[in-house]
Symmetry: C2
Subunit: 356 residues, 2 copies
């Protein structure tokens, strides 16, 4: 690929040194993709050096949280190339999130241009160790400087990237959250918007004091069926079959969730998408018919759950990590890293741009 | 008051020309107050020229909506001075909102320093026409550049100001919102945080297409009792007595709401804070025992409601604007603008700084 490369972009890329310790989402790639929208008209996108944004103090995003984002990964494949995983799903979900908050959708072509361009230029920053990746964060927010509560007339869209280690959640101890909610019935739970995450922080702070790792959120309407974790979907293995909450309107439709359902069925598992009553589930854990549970998401891929805490009682899972979670995680990673055939057409190879 | 004035601040203030048309929250004062917090330690605040903020693209506020704000006003009084209205209530509410999102509270002294300093330096920008004011917007947000979902380790606090006209909502046509929610049970409805406002935009967009002005939000738990409007509290006059929803956990505790309750009782009205069943209320409107309803908030003070729309039916109020709303509005404004005795000790005079 022989194209004109902006000197400032080239200088940023050349000057970047990969730190030894990556962590997750803390090391930022030295370039980013940027496009702006004014009164519904989108600019072309451009790759620019990673730098602070200049934001008017009255910008809508700072006051009314008019913002949404995506999380996705570029993987280094067995063959040495770099591939994105189902990016069109993220583009579609971001359009859905934007609509929920009355923001203009980022056109799919612009979204794809953004994630492809950042990946192409940052190909050298995609770690080669299995489970590591270039985490991509597309995000959109309202910038109009106006204190009235109304949708912004101007927006900015960015794609930033972070070379990241595997996100090791470990064997998670979950707290069944019966007080707080992350989203309302008729709220924003099925959109990837900042307010859901802000609302979740207090629950997580409280449960960490009690020795737990993550909240298990219940449906805000019935407060009795399982919705999801903060940023991860939920699966339970009951009598050898997979059960995951059906999309309820307050659950984010995870790309990993959707992929695991397809993958598990292809591997011969029976998968049920249904309302999962939390008390029934805890009973099944106690009696042993549910012996395994796990969460999934882009960052952690598949994370085993070791235990549920609810009120004063604890419900340990017999198997953590369990064999089903392990098999699914490995199979998904084998596809993402090019060791297994991409039979679902999920991988999206990116033509690399080299900066010498 | 003879103090050192930063030359850049003085130049910004001298260079500012007040436009003829103010609007609400669109003209920004040329200076702002700023303080930063790192790992729980607050800097001193400083007055600086109004200018774009430099924000890392990975700042928590842009992704996870970790932000809260306040709305309050400085009034020009009959005697020519400038006064804030119950600023300590806004300081306390902002501390409550911050805690809900795991942010460090802005210390009350720093908050008061911020609103007092901006008011003192912008005294010339406080409009003299009754109903007009200097609208103050304190806000706090997380700035740490890190993509993990966790509370920020660093924050910025600002007070910006906007010389504003009276916010004329007119006689509002309300839509009873039975689908969307602005906040969840166990959510953030009683905190002044961005996510509530972002979640409300879609409902308002839909109802405007149907010829309405504002959503009337119901309690997200029972979905049958009245909570509030977006950013305004609700009152109904039933058989000559005032009724307002009791604080339910998903209602923002409005400073104007609280003041009107005190004022109305002092003026001899009976005021009930209780759960208001929406169907019962609509029935009372239809039969005429509820002949008046209004919303209240810092921006609009008191705004009459002319009609409720619910499903296919409309329920017009007999009196809009009604005499109770008119009396309360005038009495509150008389106190705020120094024409009536401040018998509750609500007004907080600010010593003006003059820039020559």
């Amino acid at each position: 690929m022989s194209i004109y490369i902006d000197p400032a972009v080239a200088a940023s890329l050349r000057g970047f040194e990969m730190p030894e310790k990556l962590g997750f989402g803390t090391v930022m790639a030295p370039v980013m993709f940027r496009a702006v929208c004014q009164d519904g008209c989108w600019s072309q996108g451009e790759l620019v050096p990673y730098a602070p944004l200049a934001l008017d103090p009255a910008a809508k995003v700072l006051h009314y949280a008019q913002s949404c984002f995506e999380g996705m990964k570029a993987y280094r494949t067995q063959a040495g190339g770099v591939s994105l995983f189902r990016p069109e799903r993220n583009a579609a979900r971001m359009a859905h999130s934007a609509a929920r908050l009355c923001m203009p959708p980022v056109p799919e072509a612009l979204f794809m241009d953004g994630v492809r361009t950042v990946t192409a230029y940052c190909a050298n920053l995609v770690p080669a160790t299995s489970g590591e990746s270039l985490y991509l964060r597309p995000f959109l927010f309202g910038t109009q400087a106006d204190l009235s509560v109304s949708a912004s007339t101007s927006y900015e869209f960015y794609v930033i990237a972070s070379p990241s280690e595997a996100y090791h959640a470990g064997n998670m101890r979950l707290w069944v959250e019966r007080e707080d909610s992350r989203a309302a019935l008729g709220g924003t739970g099925d959109a990837k918007v900042g307010g859901n995450y802000a609302a979740s922080l207090r629950s997580v702070a409280r449960l960490k004091e009690r020795g737990y790792d993550q909240s298990l959120w219940l449906n805000p309407g019935n407060r009795n069926t399982v919705d999801e974790l903060s940023g991860m979907n939920f699966f339970a293995v009951i009598n050898g079959e997979l059960h995951t909450p059906a999309l309820s309107g307050s659950i984010l439709e995870g790309v990993t969730r959707d992929s695991l359902i397809d993958l598990a069925r292809d591997m011969g598992y029976t998968v049920h998408e249904r309302a999962i009553d939390i008390d029934e589930l805890l009973g099944q854990v106690a009696e042993g018919s549910c012996d395994e549970a796990f969460a999934c998401g882009t960052a952690a891929i598949v994370s085993p759950i070791s235990l549920f805490g609810d009120g004063g009682r604890e419900y340990p899972l017999a198997k953590a990590p369990g064999p089903v979670a392990e098999r699914l995680r490995q199979m998904l990673l084998d596809i993402q890293e090019g060791r297994a055939e991409d039979k679902f057409g999920w991988m999206h190879p990116v033509e690399v741009v080299s900066i010498d």
